[in-house]
Amino acid sequence: MSATAIPATQHHGEKKTYLTADHTIKSWLLTTDHKRIAVLYLISISIFFFAGSLAAGLIRYELTSPRGHLLSSEAYNKTFSAHGIIMIFFFLIPSIPATLGNFLIPLMIGARDLAFPRLNLLSWYLYSIAGVIALLAMAMGGVDAGWTFYTPLSSLYSNTQITLTLLAAFIAGFSSITTGVNFIATIHKMRAPGMTWFKLPLFVWAHYATSIIIILGTPVVAITLVLVIFERAFQIGIFSPELGGDPVLFQHLFWFYSHPAVYIMVLPGMGVISELISCFSRRPVFGYQFVAYSSMAIALLGFFVWGHHMFLSSQSTLLGVVFSFLSFVLAIPSAVKIFNWATTMYKGSIHFRTPMIYALAFMGLFVIGGLTGLYLAAIGTDVHLTGTYFIVAHFHYVMVGGAVTAFLGGVHFWWPKMFGRMYNEFLGKMSAIIIFVGFNLTFFPQFILGYLGMPRRYHLYYFAPEWQIYHVLSTAGSTVLGVGFLLPAFYLTYSLFKGPKAPKNPWGAKGLEWEETDPVPITENFDHKIVVTKPAYDYDAEEDSKLYEPEHKEEPALTGGKH
């Protein structure tokens, strides 16, 4: 993308970046700069990610013995509930949109900021308030009803901090809605001259689709959670048959949001993967329009499959069969993306840098996650697998193997842009490989456990000692996975202080955020007017490969320092 440069006022000495513009704590806490808010979000969600991982570690340790080690069943239930609630509401849903999306969307479309900067800050405050309430609820005893809060267990029977936790999820929902509204307005109204819809990076398309899901779905779950609070607090019969309500109604309302919410978590990840594969293959994303439309198709179809969570809930056979059919149809747009990414590599010039290793790991794990979804979309195979470890394995392949891997790939890709420092490339590649291996070792055995008939959310399995080996393998894997996650936490933090300074465009990437900004963007994003003339992903693999011909003496690899 080229730009007509308007001479910017150049000062002597170093220009102030968004990071160095002001150093006071107040300037961070009251900032309306989307980049600073992204950094605030990055810090917050990282804290929640490690809190949720600790709970996961405790679960895995507990399950190595059929009779448990440390926890009572009550404590175990609270631990897995905490793991789910933290990871879904406070890590996965905001992860990519609120950090990378927040940081990059204005930069990618040539805007100064998001459409509603103060709303953006409000979003982070809502998130933080919700997070504090959720942690408070856990400190006051926690909840034992799982992140799904099925009624009437949650509304009448559970004697734990349900109300407070639901309140937290409710507020977190509004944080998510404000972000969605902001993205949609920004993408519609604030694109730079020449930045037409089909020149938008696919990352932006993915966030556009995600935002639509957020604003259509989140209000439904928000009001549902309020209804559960009402039933608990005022005994108003909505979901509990004892009070005249319908327990399955809750599942309809809950999954009407929570199935599309899966795409809130994974679509932004797909957006990241499009950027990474294209950049490191030096090829435009193959079938750009198909990939863009597939995001929109997923967002739309995602609203018509919620009933596949309820095949055995007592909904009618006909309804189940219809939902099963629609779920199969939904598999196709995801398959389209996978094949387009693979074909993007065709005739490319592929550089195996850290973000690319993450992208390849994503493809491997997401394919398994997606295909095991077929067993659950198929109403016939679902009957034996639903409610078991097969489900647990499947959605971790999608959520962790997909969304988290994409998130880490994205963080490694844009880290130099966000903080102006390079991390250690060797450790970066190691972390991606360790995560890939550890992840498969953790979750593949759980597919077998599920097929053998181990229900999820079981604390004890003394009646089935033959399941133990798979739990031991899974826990061993989770230890490896833990190392894989801790590694980036250390070397990325280290790079902030001691890492070499990043050049403006260390990967030779295309896009306004790389080509038209300073190494670390200034508060106003651009110091000149942006006019877009080139298409997205204007890469040339043939040109790139010529750098390797013998007449080139200099280091041909991507710039950005040797490692």
């Binding site: 069943s73 034992d144 799982g146 799904t148 099925y150 009437p152 267990l153 559970s158 048959p241 327990p247 030096r282 090829r283 193959f286 079938g287 750009y288 055995l312 809930s313 007592s314 056979t317 099963s324 059919f325 149809v329 598999a331 196709i332 398959a335 094949f339 590599m345 065709y346 005739k347 490319g348 010039s349 592929i350 550089h351 390849l360 394919v367 398994i368 295909l371 077929l374 067993y375 198929a378 109403i379 016939g380 195979t381 009957v383 034996h384 639903t386 409610g387 097929y451 053998l452 008939g453 229900p455 959310r457 604390h459 004890l460 033959e466 080996i469 043939e542 490969s545 041909p556 690899a557």
Partner: protein, 362 residues
Amino acid sequence: MFQFPVMPPQASEWAFHYDLLFWGTSALAVFFTLVVGILVTVLAIKYRAGSKADRRNPIDHSNLLEMSWSLPPLVLAIGMFFWSATDFIQYRKMPEKASEIFVIGKQWMWHLQHMNGIRENNELHCVVGQPVKMTMISQDVIHAMYLPDFRAQFHVVPGRYTELTFTPTMTGKFRMLCAMHCGTQHSEMVGQVIVMSPKDYADWLAKDGNRFTPTALSMADAGKRLFTEKGCGNCHGGVDTERAPTLVGLFGKQRDFDNGEKVVADNEYVRESIVNPWRLINKGYTNTMPAYKGQITEEQVLDLMAYIKSISGSAANAPAEAAGRKPEGSIPGFAGPQNSTDAANRVESAGAAQFKQSENRP
């Protein structure tokens, strides 16, 4: 020390069909994983930066390619859908003749009742080769009856009946689990299905089985006793009165309500009419019956239902056939004990037949 099982026992007729579908899906999944895996690996090696591969004339998009990787998977997906959907419809089809078992899920145990009055907790004894039909309800939160070795599962919901059927094909003990998180001791809500040969089952009925029957009454008889105790007969007599319709011949009969709705009387309707009678008022009657919600247990509702079924004649077993028919002049004597036991035995015809076999033994 460790075992590496890869497959649970295949202990029911459905389990065989299930596994065929499961491994069929697996073949498809492995195939596509390999396609993508090999494609990505080959491209990654061939086009690694610095390789000598030909990179001239690349293409950016191709509608033909897009179609070729979206349409065949779509066709395969629809094929898989039909296979699995027809299997599921078969799986949900309740057998005409089956040992009827009533299941009550409660935090944190399974309570199971046989028609002949045997009551079991966390254990179900049944006969190999004979279909079992479970009618299930929860008295508190949602549970899920999960029988992994039979590949059978269905939710057990408060406030409504759900059904599950299976036909065991081998004798032995098989797990009965709860697969829906139901609170603190969810993972201890486990029991077993004990599948026996007809001879062993008969022996069990003759000896051990009695251990589980504190009252020797069949469900219908227990229901009759309750019917009398609660004074239901004061209003619901042998014929329609001004105060209430008769319950003779109720099951399978169409009911017209004052709000214009119609329903064919089934388990669901009878239960609702006991616990929340004000919801559906029969045409020509007024809302006078007290609600028994909270007054009687789910076990008692099931007993009453068995009794009402027993005075419904053949309608209970063939609702479709009986739907249009007038109740045939009510059973004489307003369902004496003999009639009710007969009905109970009819419903559990298979099990009862075995029982009689055993009686012939010394």
